[in-house]
């Protein structure tokens, strides 16, 4: 018996759905082993996680709260990845979005006393998206004009952004009335994103869904979407067709960064109502898994964003109810990505198993050396 890999004639649609699904199952099984090793019952634990994430109005609302930044960052990452621009800097772009929104909320009313306060929130959103976009633009410029690998630059710029906001809320922006808590003073009420009554789900959810719809339309129905497609599939052909690569690198990173920046605005204006420790908890990195598992498709990103948010919330829940570390969720996340990346192979290849039965050749018509008949 021999097992071989064979190239598929066309990428399998079934594999597109099955690979993420099976990866999820394998990751759960893998996580189960780890849970067993720590002495916990995996089935009980997973059930507790599922209930914690999706069982009831509160659980679902908390899952949606976490899904908002995951979807927005995931969309941003997905659009850049589609052009094979490996933006892993969503975390930093999110942080800069939160920073800019906080600056507008805390200082703009003081600088412009005549500013009608109803303009505060729109300005915060605009500033946050702009800041994220500009933060994303820097690696794009470096790539387009100096040829610097964007994986390095986007990653390094995360640290700059994260340390910058930490400096602000530990230092000059720290709320003097905050009992030493690392965070700025709360934003004025006009700078809060409206919430669905009784929950923490804020307007960012609408932005996330709208962004997915717009992005899907842009990618499938517009000239720019076409250019992204051609560049992503074959940059040489794009150049040959007169599509400017550098222009599109800059454009895609502006969009990508703006989406992550918007996620940052949602976090500060929708949840914490201040810039504080806990803004950068890794949504930007998880977004890479979201984008990849969602096959870089906006709808896939929305779906996977909600799923992974559930995993995070469920992880928090078992920490409370079962006294297990919330890191279980992170272990599962890592395992999912691990199995996903392994499984991508099956989009292009299929397994063929030879049982060794068909290997005997049909007797040739030519007489063999012996001449026996």
């Amino acid at each position: 018996m021999r097992i071989r890999l064979e190239r598929r004639l066309k990428p399998s649609r079934a594999a597109g759905v099955l690979v993420p699904l099976i990866s999820l199952i394998l990751a759960l099984a893998f996580g189960g082993l780890i849970l067993l090793a720590t002495g916990a019952n995996p089935i009980v634990t997973y059930k507790a996680m599922a209930v914690g994430a999706f069982g009831g109005k509160y659980a679902i609302s908390e899952t949606l709260v976490k899904a908002i930044p995951l979807i927005l960052c995931g969309l941003g990452v997905a659009v850049a990845f589609r052009m094979r621009f490996w933006n892993i800097g969503a975390e930093g772009q999110l942080a800069m979005g939160g920073f800019a929104a906080a600056w507008v909320a805390l200082f703009l009313p003081g600088l412009l006393p005549n500013l009608p306060l109803k303009w505060l929130l729109p300005l915060m959103i605009l500033a946050g998206m702009l800041a994220g976009a500009l933060w994303g633009l820097i690696p794009a410029l470096l790539r387009a004009f100096v040829g610097v690998n964007e994986v390095i630059t986007t990653l390094m710029m995360n640290y700059i952004a994260i340390l910058w906001i930490e400096y602000l809320f530990y230092g000059p922006w720290r709320d003097p009335k905050g009992y030493g808590f690392p965070g700025t003073a709360p934003f004025p009420q006009e700078g809060w994103l409206p919430r669905y009554p009784g929950t923490r789900v804020h307007l960012g959810l609408v932005f996330a869904i709208a962004a997915a719809i717009i992005l899907w339309l842009v990618l499938t129905r517009t000239r720019w979407g076409y250019e992204v497609r051609v560049i992503g599939e074959n940059p040489r052909a794009a150049r040959y067709a007169g599509i400017s690569l550098w222009r599109n690198f800059l454009l895609v990173m502006l969009v990508s960064g703006a989406l992550a920046g918007l996620a940052g605005v949602g976090e500060v204006a929708g949840i914490s109502h201040r810039l504080q420790k806990g803004l950068t908890v890794g949504y930007g990195y998880t977004a890479i898994i979201v984008a990849w598992m969602g096959q870089l498709n906006p709808w896939g990103v929305v779906l996977v964003g909600i799923l992974l948010a559930g995993l995070l919330v469920g992880g928090d829940q078992i920490q409370i109810t079962m006294r297990l570390p919330a890191a279980v969720a992170l272990v599962l996340q890592g395992a999912i990505l691990f199995f996903m990346l392994g499984g991508v192979l099956f989009n292009q290849y299929r397994l063929r198993v030879d049982w060794g039965l068909r290997r005997r050749p049909v007797r040739p018509t030519l007489p063999a050396e012996g001449g026996e008949s």
Partner: protein, 519 residues
């Protein structure tokens, strides 16, 4: 059966090799005798290379048996094949560029266990090259050698490893006519020493020139094995394609019109930053095809890229219809209605994973009715793509099919359809028929001639001299980035062109006087 002929050096029986969706070899029987040149003839995709890749251990067959000198063998890897005395010279050479000839000889061998005595290897190589007339300096580094010399190194490498059976995959594609003659002399010498040569080709003349016997493959099956003396090119061609072939595409007389492309004093560098084009000047008029002949790597690619805006010129000017487009962007040059059929179809000319419809709009996606403002018009794209598919006879299941799944001929037709759809005033085509079968070649040539009839100016870059002689009105020969001469294609002397391709400037040819410009 009585043995009245020697034991075959190679005997392959009932070879079956399946790839997903195709049977590349369908119960192929093949044999080659010691001391013979046996040609494998067939169109692209006929299964020649697959069969020989099986013999050289790259593929394992799904069914079938292989005997070497009467003994059954199982070839699991190229190393197995080498130990059995089988050597294959691939189209793309497997040499380490930075190493010397002698160092390449021993690469992958276990032979010098600890101490590498290069002097001794060099002596052995010199001896072998003298014996077979394969002249090459064993101390030269590979990158210093011409393509023809590199091929000699590949052959020497196989001989050095003790090959008794030598497989050559389309060896003449990269050679000048003179080098082809030299190669053939070497091959004959090798057969007199009892070596077996398997010669893969789809060029009839060469096969007729060198072979003792010829096996014709079509669609993965053997059509026939014939003796050269008992066949004719016409018969072979018929066996190859299964029908009579028109060898000549009708080309009508046409007076060239006004100048479309004027290139003057053009210089450009190659990817390594070395001069690839040196002071190139020529013009092409409406309804004229200028052929560019030359051995691969003499500046052809750089020329096509500079003219289409993909490479910067370091000096000189390019003028299309009195508009200076020197170093303009590809976008701008496309806007001047310059079509481009690049040499690398799937790598540059098409996007393999995207459907036919996305591929045919690559040059027109910014125009109405394909798009309106920033939006694409899906309906118009579908209609446009279906119209082209019908008009150019592109065999595809639908316009939604990724072009990757199309055959070579249909890929090229898709590419040409798109380039023609911009109504080009100038068309730059590089190796437009390379690797295509006879039917598709004919279709592509007709399309090019149709463009000529419509009044487009064409720059046709090809390594196939016959193609240039057939299609072009004038032929420009490039050698090391310089124009060696421009001659009318009518009554052109193949020998003279061959000499120019090898770097010999013509004495005082009257025909080129008008083309030369003072530098």
């Amino acid at each position: 059966m009585t043995e009245h002929q020697p034991t075959p050096a190679v005997r392959m029986i009932g070879i079956v090799k399946r790839f997903p969706g195709v049977v590349a070899n369908d119960h192929v029987d093949f044999e080659a005798l010691p001391g013979e040149v046996h040609s494998l003839l067939g169109e692209n995709g006929a299964g020649k290379s697959t069969l020989m890749n099986i013999l050289s251990g790259l593929y394992t067959p799904d069914e079938g048996e292989i005997y070497l000198f009467g003994r059954p063998v199982v070839l699991r890897s190229p190393r197995d094949a080498i130990t059995h005395g089988i050597g294959m010279v691939h189209q793309h050479f497997m040499l380490v560029e930075m190493h010397t000839v002698a160092e390449n000889m021993v690469l992958g061998l276990n032979k010098p266990r600890f101490i590498l005595n290069l002097r001794e290897i060099e002596r052995e190589v010199e001896q072998l090259s003298a014996q077979y007339g394969l002249h090459v300096d064993p101390r030269a580094r590979i990158w210093q050698l011409s393509v023809g010399e590199q091929q000699r190194v590949e052959i020497l490498k196989m001989l050095y490893r003790g090959a008794r059976i030598l497989i050559l995959d389309e060896p003449t594609a990269v050679l000048t006519p003179q080098e082809v003659d030299d190669l053939f002399a070497t091959l004959r010498k090798m057969t007199t020493e009892g070596k077996t040569i398997i010669f893969i080709s789809h060029k009839l003349e060469e096969v007729m020139a060198i072979s003792d016997r010829i096996t014709v493959l079509r669609g993965g099956k053997v059509v026939a094995t014939v003796r050269k003396a008992e066949t004719s090119p016409a018969e072979l061609a018929k066996m190859m394609v299964g029908r009579e072939v028109l060898f000549r595409v009708e080309k009508e007389e046409r007076e060239p019109g006004e100048v479309v492309l004027e290139v003057s004093g053009l210089c450009a560098n190659n990817d390594k930053g070395l001069p690839a084009l040196k002071n190139v000047s020529f013009t092409i008029r409406e309804g004229e095809i200028l052929g560019v002949a030359g051995v691969a790597g003499n500046g052809q690619r750089e020329l096509a890229e500079v003219l289409t805006g993909l490479r910067k010129a370091t000096a000189g000017t390019v003028t299309v219809l009195e508009c200076d487009v020197t170093n303009c962007s590809p976008r701008k040059i496309i806007g001047e209605k310059v079509g481009h059929v690049p040499e690398d179809r799937l790598g540059m000319g098409l996007v393999p994973n995207l459907p036919v419809s996305d591929n045919v709009i690559m040059k027109t996606y910014k125009e109405r009715p394909i798009s309106a403002g920033p939006f694409l018009n899906g309906g118009a794209i579908g209609r446009f793509a279906r119209r082209l598919v019908e008009q150019f006879n592109i065999a595809t299941p639908s316009v939604q099919t990724p072009v990757r799944l199309l055959s070579g001929g249909n890929l090229q037709k898709t590419l040409l359809a798109r380039e023609i759809s911009i109504s080009p005033r100038l068309m730059i085509a590089m190796h437009p028929t390379r690797g295509l079968d006879v039917g598709a070649t004919e279709a592509v040539r007709r399309l090019l001639l149709e463009q000529r009839k419509q009044g487009a100016a064409l720059l046709l870059i090809s390594e196939d001299l016959d193609e240039l002689l057939e299609l072009a009105d004038r032929i420009l020969v490039l050698y090391e980035g310089e124009v060696q001469g421009i001659v009318p294609a009518k009554d052109a002397d193949v020998g003279a062109i061959g000499l120019m391709m090898a770097g010999v400037k013509p004495g005082a040819p009257a025909a080129t006087e008008t083309e030369r410009r003072p530098a």
